[in-house]
Symmetry: D2
């Protein structure tokens, strides 16, 4: 799943580049659109007290991104286990250069922040 | 009530100055500390399903603020009516120059987003 | 000029709604797309040391916006004078309800933060 | 080096907890204060065209943090090589529970985004 992300002033810092925490917002957007494409609505899950929280996040910054850039967020799932989903991403700029690689570990929890197995109807849509 | 706010990279944009929306975060912090000084905890109110939402916000930007600046947020209440509180702020930099003037209108609501009178025990602390 | 804005987790706060400062980011996006439609690139202006800074911002919050909402940002210019542009916006949700009204005063400045007349080639594109 | 970070609405999301990208802002603040304690001003370095950029960031989220929490950011340097500094952090809440562990790899660059050796006067202050 690939989606576009345009860079505005609010994504940048006084170093003249995209601030390093902003990329995590782009990744959230990538994950949401990925799940949606598979027919999974994060909003609907929330309404059923099923939440996915971030357990781990890593990101390698390869090149800076700048105001006006149009980034491509390429999101995919690399592993699904009982209560956990592993995402991987590559972010490229409009010149097709890699800006960042990243990985996220999501864990499925209930409304008391306790891990729970990923519901079967979610799992079948992901595989 | 006055509080200090130090400017980090994450508050700035590629124009080299503090991004215009960031000031609204500083104002939230000013309001919270102001209320706290009066013995009012926003968190405790939330636990009792009493919320204050922003109905109106205005801000005049007088001077840019920069990375490393230490801003002073001066917060005061100018009016309290049945369900509404008016805040005013002046933000100054470390050279005592005015960076911005601002006003916020807060409205007291219940958990269904319906306006409700400011609870008497809150009101008495504010006057 | 109208553009769509989808609401993600990163736009919301623990009150369950879009955080009040986030709207100012949506307005930046609205202004940028408006200017672009008129053939004006903020990036190109920056490269020529022509900047537009926010002198004043006001916003009336009418209804909360929520995770998953698709907002419409309707941006227009209401006045242009020597060094100043006035923008107005209406933000509506997917049910066509008004979420917020807002106004921005932009001032044209040079790289020393001094006001300068709006360059003629910019002005002619706006009128 | 330890510093305190109070959680406001603007740090949280509609899941009711601190948004996962916000922690990276706290880490920036931790690094800045750490360097400052060693007599190094990021601002002064910038004025001399010496920049530190993030090459890699990883973070393990152990417990959620909430509105009103007072977090402790414990920042330390674990390694310094020619052009690179490794930071490690532990973030704990007011109950002394670990909220997150994190690591950052910083690389020293010049104004053309090219890696450069960490200046000797900076290095001596860090060791």
């Amino acid at each position: 799943m690939e989606n576009e992300k345009r860079i505005y002033y609010h994504n940048t810092d006084c170093g003249g580049v995209v601030y390093y925490a902003e990329y995590l917002k782009f990744l959230e957007e990538g994950r949401t659109l990925y799940l949606e494409e598979k027919g999974i609505s994060v909003k609907e899950l929330m309404d059923h007290d099923i939440f996915f929280v971030i357990a781990r996040q890593e990101i390698d910054y390869k090149l800076p991104a700048f105001y006006g850039d149009i980034l491509q967020i390429d999101t995919r799932i690399t592993n699904i286990s009982r209560a956990r989903i592993d995402f991987e991403y590559e972010i490229r700029n409009q010149n097709n250069k890699t800006v960042a690689f990243s990985k996220t570990v999501l864990v499925c929890i209930d409304k008391n922040f306790k891990p729970m197995p990923i519901p079967e109807k979610v799992r079948t849509k992901l595989i």
